[in-house]
């Protein structure tokens, strides 16, 4: 052992580096850690810092953290969020819109994912390709395209009037309905893909065993398929719910003046009012609002897996 170590220059270097805690394992972990540090933790800390500052007519437009030899923090911004009902309402409305969008995406996405997972191979790849195909076009363009479809003299109303289903154009644009359509449409692939990844692994023998034991197709679906695909349902719902809460572009383009979403409020605070500290507080509060339920869910899940 010692002889080998002495003769191999690589081992010598490795031993030297290990003395400073730099083993190969540590290096492999260090790269993603560094990435997270630079692009997530540092910006988060910056935003956190601004949220405790006072707005100022300056550049940047907030009070410095260190002034007069001491640390200057204020929780006034958070108190303001609590006092002004606009913010609470916006949070609440965001959660509501995100929640119902997630439920709709699940109801639409589950049958699609199931169908794709059960399709024979060449067809399955084609269907999967169709699901991810929209990503080749810019998200913004696709949302704009929905304006063309949903507006009063848009494609949808034209078609419905042509076939005589309605005689007055439907008012969809600039309502919550348009926002729901936009969000469900945009995030549907994020629901379908994890569900598909889960359902494709579903062992057909489970369904056969259930049928063999006398379960009708519905019973098999609710007692076997759904519970076994729960990880996919949770993952897909997270991937839709979380970005939907903070969504800004869709409510801004498709929604109306009444559509209240926290992303829009944040944007207004930041760009129109130039109140960076309040905007930062809005962002931090949203983060906490999101992270805590997710952590609780994860904890419940890992507990559930043990029993």
């Amino acid at each position: 052992m010692t002889a080998l170590r002495a003769t191999s220059p690589w081992r010598k270097t490795a031993a030297l580096l290990a003395r400073f805690g730099l083993t190969g394992r540590a290096l492999v972990i260090a790269v993603p850690m560094l990435w997270l540090l630079v692009f997530f933790l540092v910006p988060f800390l910056v935003v956190l810092k601004i949220s405790f500052a006072d707005p100022m007519l300056a550049r940047p437009p907030y009070s410095p953290l260190f002034a007069d030899g001491s640390i200057q923090v204020t929780i006034g911004n958070y108190a303001y969020l609590w006092e002004d009902s606009l913010y609470i309402n916006a949070y609440w409305s965001s959660i509501k819109i995100a929640f119902f969008s997630t439920v709709m995406a699940l109801l639409i996405g589950y049958p699609m994912a199931y169908y794709i997972a059960r399709s024979p191979e060449p067809k399955r790849s084609l269907l999967l390709l169709l699901i991810v195909l929209p990503f080749w076009t810019s998200f913004l363009l696709r949302v704009y395209a929905w304006i063309g479809i949903l507006k009063t003299k848009g494609v949808l109303n034209m078609v419905l009037m042509k076939i005589g289903l309605i005689d007055q154009p439907l008012i969809i644009m600039q309502t919550d309905v348009a926002v729901y359509i936009g969000i469900v449409y945009t995030y549907l692939p994020f629901m379908i893909l994890p569900l598909y990844a889960n359902l494709v692994k579903l062992d057909n023998a489970m369904l056969e065993a259930s049928a063999d034991l006398g379960a009708k197709p519905m019973a098999t679906f609710f007692r076997i398929t759904i519970p076994l695909s729960m990880p996919g349902i949770v993952a897909g719902s997270m991937l839709v719910f979380i970005p939907a809460i903070g969504e800004f572009v869709i409510p801004a383009l498709l929604g109306g003046p009444d559509t209240l979403m926290i992303g829009k409020v944040l944007w207004t605070e930041f760009f129109s009012n130039r109140d960076w500290p309040v905007a930062s507080a809005v962002a931090i509060a949203m983060l906490i609002l999101l992270v805590i339920p997710i952590m609780l869910l994860r904890m419940a899940q890992s507990k559930g897996a043990d029993t």
Partner: protein, 378 residues
Amino acid sequence: MAELPLAADAKPWKDSAAVPFIRIKNITKKFGEFSAVDDITLDIYKGELFCLLGGSGCGKSTLLRMLAGLETPTSGTIEIDGQDVADVAAFDRPTNMMFQSYALFPHMTVEKNVIYGLLREGVPKAEAKDRVADMLRLVKLQDFAKRKPHQLSGGQQQRVALARSLIKQPKLLLLDEPLAALDKKLREETQFELIHIQETLGVTFIVVTHDQEEAMTLSTRIGVMKDGKIVQVGEPPQIYEDPNSRYVADFIGSVNMFEGTVDVAVSSTLRIKSPEAGIDLLVEPVEGLKANQNVSVAIRPERITLTRHKPDGAANIVEGGVVEVAYLGNLSVYRVKLASGKILKVTKSNLLHDEEPISWDEKVFLSWSNAAGIVLTT
């Protein structure tokens, strides 16, 4: 129980008036061009424990799956209890299957797995729970009721699968290698338990197994399968003593096989020339053989007597040298090389300590009666 269980001495398959419980008629299953099950016709009677035996990939599981309704036959019909089941979905069939892969529900405890079938049938929960407890005691899993399948050993999982298929006591039970993962002791206990269930409840079993010994102990009849076809059906002694082909003779138990040609019948014995044996083999006469026809003669190892000295009066006697001895406790297996180079397998009981045991390199005489040789043409 309305129907009488099958008495040990009742043999409905010998009674031409008996009505079969299961009628499989010309059933074929093709996967693409490949026939996994090829034109099988088979009758199985109420209360039977029918074993399907055959090499890997010969279509045993596929046949069971068609009976359970999990696979649609390409052609042919299946009748269960007088009803054509072609249009009966799996969940409506009076069958339960134990899957070769167990197919336990991973998200449910042992108890929930076993109770599943009863609850789907609408059995009240309290009654179902009692029945599950009894069943778990039967398969010795009462202490594991709250575990999930992944927390069990392979043999324990197999017993859960067995319990789950037995609990509904269906008219027809299909077991796909139910005991393969159990240790010898537990396997024997469970075999007797299966026979007990069959005898007391009158449930009809079709059991797939790789293990011919198991088939011998368990079954009322055995069906030997090869390449999607049933090559022989019969009671265990019949299959063993009177195989109808080289394949069956070879598959069931071990056997010594001589190639030869038919000579002539000498009074009450048939003479078969076999250069491999170095002698003319004398066997009991068989109908329908032509002179110079190629045949095989199968001789079971336990039918051959092994001696140091040349015995008197045996119909067939050959000389050879011992090349290998395997001691198996109650008996020893000898491999003896003949002058032609052919190696014969012979078993000798160790009960008699008459003389010093025969060992390696000794010159020995092998002898057998003319009733021991089975003439096979296919």
